[in-house]
């Protein structure tokens, strides 16, 4: 593999990792507060659709983004009502949300645009455009540094540049603010938070809504940043890969970033090289590359490489004592 190919693969890793990073952080907030969320996929899909649909109708990417975030947060609120207020099964609620998003986006899409559930292709005003950082043209010809700067670092959409600061911000909120401490406490030992006179429900609702917001960013990026429009079920399991990355990172933000970059790289390599030939070993089929994030996650879950222990109160509804 030559240098240019390597840089291009890393460049596509950045693009492919971005939705994973947002969705993974979304799951991080929710699960750290004790609410399991296997509905990341559905929320992303809803946001992807509404971002693209509203952007197509209004020709404004910002209005699209707002619509996407609203849709995702509405579904997050449903998850909150089911799992916090009505103390329902969080996993079943997540499953329902995934199907609801999958069905509704196709249904509304077909009804609005009548092109098989897709949205029309978005024009330049309807999507996030790549940003060329200063001097990327002039520096491109310098060996080594040039391609690195102009291919890898420059030329992404604003959401890609937003992703890594969001990781740092999430880490800071969760581990260095009072709010973050309380959020984590709600996920580990809700009784203690309750005894301190704070509302477990209120904190969990906030976590779930932050989760909705971040899933919304992930979805909006898919349809108005990475692609120029929505196609049916375009999340294609990315919500579950993000969930896998979250477990892989053992619910820690820094490691979540690394896991998302790794899974993004696997996808980039799979797309670029299809079947990879390695001397002595033979051909690694594309399908194995695609399944690798899931296989790695199962190995981590099995505890063969350290132990992945979820937040203690995760998945358990909180009953306030009287």
């Amino acid at each position: 593999m030559d240098f240019v190919t390597a840089v291009q693969t890393l460049d596509s890793m950045m693009r492919l990792s971005t939705p994973l990073i947002f969705a993974c952080l979304a799951g991080l907030f929710s699960e750290r507060a004790g609410i399991f969320d296997i509905g990341l996929e559905g929320k992303m899909l809803a946001s992807a659709f509404f971002s693209a649909a509203v952007a197509a109708l209004t020709d404004s990417v910002l209005l699209g983004l707002i619509a996407g975030l609203t849709a995702s947060m509405a579904l997050a609120l449903v998850h909150g009502v089911a799992s916090i207020t009505f103390r329902g099964n969080q996993l079943i609620s997540g499953v329902a949300i995934n199907f609801f998003a999958s069905g509704m986006t196709a249904l509304i899409g077909q009804n609005l645009f009548k092109i098989g559930g897709r949205t029309p292709s978005l024009g330049d005003k309807g999507r996030f455009l790549p940003i060329d950082l200063p001097f990327s043209e002039t520096l491109a010809n310098i060996p080594l540094v040039g391609p690195l700067y102009s291919e890898l670092i420059s030329g992404h959409t604003v959401l890609v540049y937003f992703s890594i600061p969001t990781v740092i911000l999430s880490w800071w909120i969760l581990f260095h603010t009072r709010f973050g401490l309380r959020l984590r406490a709600v996920g580990e030992n809700p009784e203690a938070v309750d005894t301190a006179g704070l509302s477990v429900s209120a904190h969990r609702y906030q976590a779930v809504l932050i989760c909705g917001l971040l899933c919304g960013l992930a979805g909006a990026y898919l349809s108005t940043g990475m692609a120029a429009g929505f196609i049916r079920d375009m999340t294609a399991g990315k919500g579950f890969i993000a969930l896998a990355a979250l477990i892989f990172a053992k619910w820690r933000p820094g490691f979540a970033l690394i896991a998302c970059l790794l899974f993004g790289l696997l996808e980039a390599v799979a797309i670029r090289f299809q079947n990879i030939e390695i001397a002595m070993v033979g051909t690694i089929p594309l399908q194995l590359m695609q399944a690798l994030p899931y296989i790695l996650t199962v190995i981590i879950l099995a505890g063969f490489i350290g132990k992945a222990i979820p937040p203690k109160a995760g998945g358990i509804p909180y009953f306030k004592e009287r």
Binding site: V78, G88, I92, S93, A96, N111, L288
Partner: protein, 366 residues
């Protein structure tokens, strides 16, 4: 909790009210699209149970959902949420296909037991690893079974593209199974008794296996020692351990049975209908099983009724799309989601008001 309302209300009233809520919201969606929900209902009913032809399709779909619904239900009794029915059924299809392609089977009667066993073993095997990891290493079964769904699909695509692809076909599918593996359809079976039934519906002998499975699961759960262990474990793990029940074996066996049942579903679609292995032979039935088990309250009879209901929705949905193009087939996915939401996650939303209601009417007596 359930002592506060009568048993009949718990078993019958709550599912019906939850279903009603789900359908009411679905009707609003249809209304919003600009069609009349009552017309839609008439089309669905006519398309699914209005003719012998329609029944043939409805019961064919119901067969899929009986198997996947039972699979989820058996695991539910052991407090395991097996979300991996989709992957287990995919592997079941592979097992069925391997058996069918292995020999030039002389007659379907000899092939059929082997197909059933092949599908069940492959489905069970795909559930075995998540079950073992849950039982021995505490890895959450929901997450591992989701991961195994994706792995199953990748494996199937790989095998169909690189290994089992029919030599002279463009599509990723195996060659057609030998004639000796052709399972009798409803048309052929009813002809033995001189009853005329349309030829095209794919309803086949697998339906009878589905009915027998309902009975077998009922006997297993409520009439055997093993079933008692599974239920005891599902109610209270600590009490079950105290009673000398091994959590490891309960988790393993209930998940193997669950995976086996999910695998059997593929007999209906792969050996019964397509007669070759296709990429998409499960068609989401593994996930429908979750809704079916939830409405059916994990009871085989409830599962049977719920599977029939979803058979109606799936077959009726096809007709609906044909007659009301604005209401596409995804409407069924929306209904399915709402049913899962109301019967599964928002159970307390229906239950708490009902408890208050029964407390009100009981007070003067007590």
């Amino acid at each position: 909790m359930s002592t506060r309302i009568p048993k009949w209300a718990d078993v019958v009233l709550i599912p019906i009210l939850s279903l009603f809520l789900a359908f009411a919201l679905s009707a609003l969606v249809v209304l919003w699209i600009g069609e009349n929900p009552l017309d839609a209902l008439v089309i669905i009913m006519r398309g699914s149970i209005g003719s012998a032809y329609a029944w043939g399709y409805t019961l064919y779909y119901a067969t899929n959902f009986i198997f996947t619904g039972l699979a989820v239900a058996v695991a539910f009794h052991a407090k395991m949420f097996n979300i991996g029915g989709e992957g287990q059924a995919t592997l079941g299809g592979l097992g069925a296909a391997l058996v069918c392609l292995a020999f030039g089977w002389p007659h379907w009667l000899s092939a059929f037991p082997a197909i059933l066993i092949g599908a069940a073993i492959f489905g069970a095997a795909w559930a075995a690893i998540p079950a073992y990891l849950q039982a021995r290493r505490g890895s959450h079964i929901v997450i591992t079974t989701i991961m195994f769904n994706f792995m199953a699909f990748a494996l199937l695509v790989y095998l169909l593209v690189h290994v089992m692809k029919a030599p002279n076909s463009m599509a990723a599918e195996t060659r057609t199974f030998p004639p000796g593996t052709h399972l009798p359809t409803a048309h052929e079976m009813l002809a033995w008794f001189g009853i005329a039934f349309p030829k095209s519906p794919p309803l086949n002998v697998s339906f009878l296996v589905g009915l027998a499975s309902c009975l077998a699961v009922w006997v297993l759960i409520w009439r055997t020692r093993l079933g008692y262990s599974i239920r005891a474990f599902g109610h209270s793990e600590t009490a079950a351990i105290y009673a000398g029940i091994s959590p490891f074996w309960v988790i393993m066996i209930s998940m193997l049975i669950s995976g086996g049942l999910a695998g059997l579903m593929a007999v209906n679609t792969v050996a019964g209908e397509a007669e070759r292995l296709l990429i998409d032979s499960v068609q989401g039935a593994g996930f429908v099983g979750i809704a079916v088990a939830l409405i059916g309250r994990s009871h085989p009879f409830g599962v049977l009724l719920a599977a029939f209901l979803f058979g109606i929705l799936y077959q009726g949905g096809v007709e609906l799309e044909f007659e009301m193009p604005a209401v596409s087939r995804e409407m069924i996915v929306v209904i399915q989601a709402l049913v899962i939401l109301f019967t599964g996650a928002l159970d307390n939303m229906v239950r708490i008001p009902l408890e208050r209601f029964f407390a009100q009417i009981r007070r003067p007596v007590g």
